[in-house]
Symmetry: C2
Subunit: 247 residues, 2 copies
């Protein structure tokens, strides 16, 4: 029997914001509490950050669908097997969500931060787009949580903002840092020393802040210049405020 | 009599998100409904976008403090009088909020989008920081509302994102567009033709989307290449998605 489009359930990609549960939107809060089918990504053996944020909010009869990342730490990123393994994983997740949708179930896919901003959901989105009804519920990005926690106005007037990944190659990272007015560097982790060096060479180290666990327990704000150089936790980023026209 | 810090009221800068009232955070929603003193910016003779978003949410005994931008359209931005006029305006607003705080009143300052991202509140923040207790409630940025509305994953893997103002000089705008992976161009307005030309020269016009009134009534998503060239409304921005590593 062919299912009519009207009978399909909607896949809601729900942005949960930076971590504090009351920083999810009213719409997200409602969807998390009301939707029976709750999907989320997590590492094997971990509760998962997205799932942790909604602790205590789910329906008693909620059906949970954890999508567990395949273990890829032993495969180099450049190895075709790395991409192939992840592609198969995302394809399986998309198939699972699509099947639920075709059975008429709505699904809330929990997304840390904003779903369209470095989110794993994007890999499902490209596979499901056109095949199932999808609604994106935007969320507060981690960098907004960080600038709020640190009290750092980020961009003023004609400032340009560059959002960079600390995983970038040195040359490109250094060049982008030299050019930008305001900067956010994500994914620093083990790359913190490299990022710090690039900021220092560009003369921006004195204005750089390291913010860890913004809006979460363990929140910590410190000048990057005073950091001891140990790897940064996953939930951390560097902010260098802009210097644009001010009144 | 000297007021102890404990007796001071807190100034909450409340990010309201991109426009749809249910896209403000649960925390923002609560502060808007519970706080008696509600401040916001607006143009003379206009209701103000921030105030419009919270329509119907305020306490019956709310005290509203509209801060009305001085009329500066006749003063060139480069004229020192422009900056002086705005500086006096922000100083007066800060004085007003500080006085309320010292009387022990909490205040919610309504901020469109995120308070620290191109927000007028930043001009109050620099004047009030240290003088009054301030809490920033981050909000969903307009660009997240736009990527959600358009179904455009913005940044992937090692992508760099550049957020630019359409008001930038041509040379700098064109250079930044050539370098970035993902792009958001704000403040296009009367600069739409210039931005379009720069995107075209960089070979990115085919991937560029113009999103107007994201998450609001009148929401409209269209390829920039199909736009007729008329000025864009204030609530519009251009998104060019990144092309990073995908699985």
């Amino acid at each position: 029997m062919r299912v009519t489009p009207e009978a399909k359930g909607t896949i809601h990609a729900v942005g949960l914001g930076p971590g504090a549960p009351d920083l999810m939107s009213v719409r997200a809060d409602r969807l998390v509490r009301e939707t029976q089918h709750i999907a989320y990504f997590r590492k094997v053996g971990r509760p998962g950050q997205a799932r942790s944020i909604v602790d205590g909010m789910l329906r008693p009869d909620a059906q949970e669908l954890p999508m567990e990342y395949p273990i890829t730490t032993e495969i180099p990123v450049a190895d075709p097997l790395y991409r192939k393994t992840l592609a198969a994983f995302y394809a399986a997740g998309a198939t699972q969500l699509r099947a639920l949708s075709e059975q008429g179930h709505d699904i809330a896919v929990l997304c840390e931060g904003d779903p369209m901003f470095f989110g794993s959901f994007m890999h499902l989105f490209t596979r499901l787009s056109g095949a199932a009804p999808i609604r994106i519920v935007p969320g507060i990005a981690g960098m907004a949580g960080a600038t709020a926690a640190a009290g750092l106005p980020l961009v003023w007037g004609d400032d340009t903002l560059a959002v960079l990944a600390g995983t970038m190659p040195w040359e490109k990272l250094a060049e982008r840092i030299r050019q930008a007015d305001a900067l956010v560097v994500m994914k620093c982790g083990r790359h913190l020393t490299k990022v710090r060096q690039a900021l220092s060479e560009a003369g921006r180290l004195a204005d750089a802040w390291l913010i860890e666990y913004a809006t979460m327990p363990g929140e910590r704000v410190q000048p990057l210049s005073q950091h001891n150089g140990s790897p940064a936790p996953y939930f951390s980023l560097i902010v260098v405020p802009g210097r644009g026209r001010r009144s």
